[in-house]
Amino acid sequence: MSVFEGFRFRHVSSPIHRLDPRVKFLFVLVMFVAAVLFYELLPLLVLFFIPVPFVLVAGVQRQWLRSLRGAMFLAVFLLVFNLVFGFLSPGTIPWGMSPIEYASAMFLRFLVLVESFSIFFLTTSPDHLSLALEQSHVPYEFTFAFTTAVRFVPVLAEEAQTIMDAQKARGLELERGNFMKRVRNYIPILIPLIVSAIRRSLELAEAMESRAWGAAKKRTNLYVLKLRRGDATLIIMSIILLAMALYVRNFVSPLPTITSLLPK
């Protein structure tokens, strides 16, 4: 569950928290595009360190590290998977790269994606986020569905805990058996969780409709998002980052490998 911890917002104030969520999202998007553009280790390494100052300024390093640790299982899986296939069929990796370097790059690319999304969710409150979506002309139904989903994560986590307790009280031992057995051990947890989530959503829908949800055709907001100086700076930084990434991708070639940079 620790990976979710890294996406859970806590109310603190910092220059990063105060940025417009739309601008922050733009930045995350640029990071995303840049990470997908490259499969070489060197640029991904650079990308990996770009969000670090933001994390420090926002003061969310603990949760951020936790989200990285949570993502580690999948990241290592990617690493091993790419290594195995890189050695088995070298044709699948770009010409001139060692399987080790390619696999490490894929490992790092995944971490770059996780870290940038993590910092976005760590520094953006769900309310702010729905405001941003709404003021970007996303239909309110979608905005509402999205924020409700985010808000129900802790509720579901608590429910999962109760269900686990109930099944443990009936003699279920989650940590017993081989890998396949352990996966199957989670069926008695997942089914009640899904069933009660569906029940809960139906109840929520009925409760909302009986309180005249959607009666007003046009909604207004108490708070209106406005771009400030910090936002403008981040927009410019994002554009520069994107431009640099595109330039390096298209005009600098071949990119040096890490092994060639290391002292012989």
């Binding site: 429910e159 099944q167 443990k168 279920l172 009640p192 069933v195």
Partner: protein
């Protein structure tokens, strides 16, 4: 059977739910744990089967400290029926649902068959043996959850809020069932708000407020004591309220049972008629 020695418990969130609770439950006793919301009732009974381990103090079940044994091992002795049956039902048929725990405890196939038949019969569910538990009504789902615990015949049965969402008749059936279980020598612990239900069962009452036990004893003594009731913000049974309103007629104030009340009233009325 269950020995609780000065137990403190603090949740990871920092909420101190139990503040020094000591309690001893003997074999074959029938105990109702009562108190308002957030008094620590559920936290207390979760210590009984090791779902929660005390932050300080010890819980001994049959002489074994709950710290030294897994929940699954303890569950063999202490069956726990959760408040909401939807937190445990997952199988395709009622039969499989009841078999789940039996399989976990490693019972043999023919024993499992026998136990399922026995438990379903006990709770009047035999006709639903091959039905999906999700197709049943709320009350029936609750009975399936109960059957799935009773099937392995634990020495102690804990029922968390058994009366919630049950209509009057189901409650009465449940009451008779619990009393019958207890009469057969099973230790029964119920957690409940339902004063009327407790008054009819007449068990030993453990009353909690703010993480501490404020009263422990016969239901008749505790539910009719206005001071205790006030402290734990519970309301006396309706019958008791009537009798406490009629003190000037010289009637007793510690009546919780309807049939007892009827007897006293008839005696009183006949006496009055005799005087005239």
């Amino acid at each position: 059977m269950i020995e609780i020695k000065d137990v403190h418990f603090t949740y990871p969130t920092g909420v101190e739910a139990l503040k020094g609770v000591s309690l001893s439950i003997r074999n074959g006793e029938f105990v109702a744990v009562m108190g308002q919301n957030g008094a620590g009732k559920t936290t207390l009974v979760k210590q009984f089967n090791g779902l929660l381990k005390p932050t300080k103090g010890d819980v001994l079940v049959d002489g074994v400290n709950t710290r030294d044994i897994s929940v699954a091992q303890l569950a063999r002795k202490v069956g726990f029926v959760f408040q909401n049956p939807d937190h445990q039902l997952f199988s395709e048929t009622v039969e499989e649902e009841v078999a789940f725990a039996l399989k976990n405890f490693g019972f043999k196939q023919d024993t499992i068959e026998r136990r399922i038949t026995w438990a379903l019969n006990l709770l009047n569910l035999t006709e639903y043996r091959k039905t999906s538990p999700f197709m049943l009504s709320g009350g029936e789902r609750k009975r399936v959850a109960l059957a799935s615990v009773l099937a392995w015949n634990p020495k102690v049965v804990i029922l968390d809020e058994p009366t919630i969402g049950q209509d009057h008749r189901q409650k009465e059936t449940l009451r008779q069932f619990i009393v019958q279980l207890n009469a057969q020598g099973k230790t029964v612990v119920i957690v409940t708000h339902d004063v009327e239900f407790v008054a009819e069962c007449n068990p030993r009452v453990v009353l909690m407020t703010q993480g501490q036990i404020v009263a422990d004893g016969e239901a008749k003594r505790i539910l009719t004591n206005p001071n205790i009731a006030l402290k734990a913000s519970i309301v006396s049974p309706q019958i008791t309220q009537i009798f406490q309103g009629l003190t000037d007629l010289g009637l007793p104030t510690d009546v919780i049972d309807v049939s007892e009340a009827k007897k006293i009233l008839i005696e009183y009325l006949e006496e009055e008629r005799g005087k005239r």
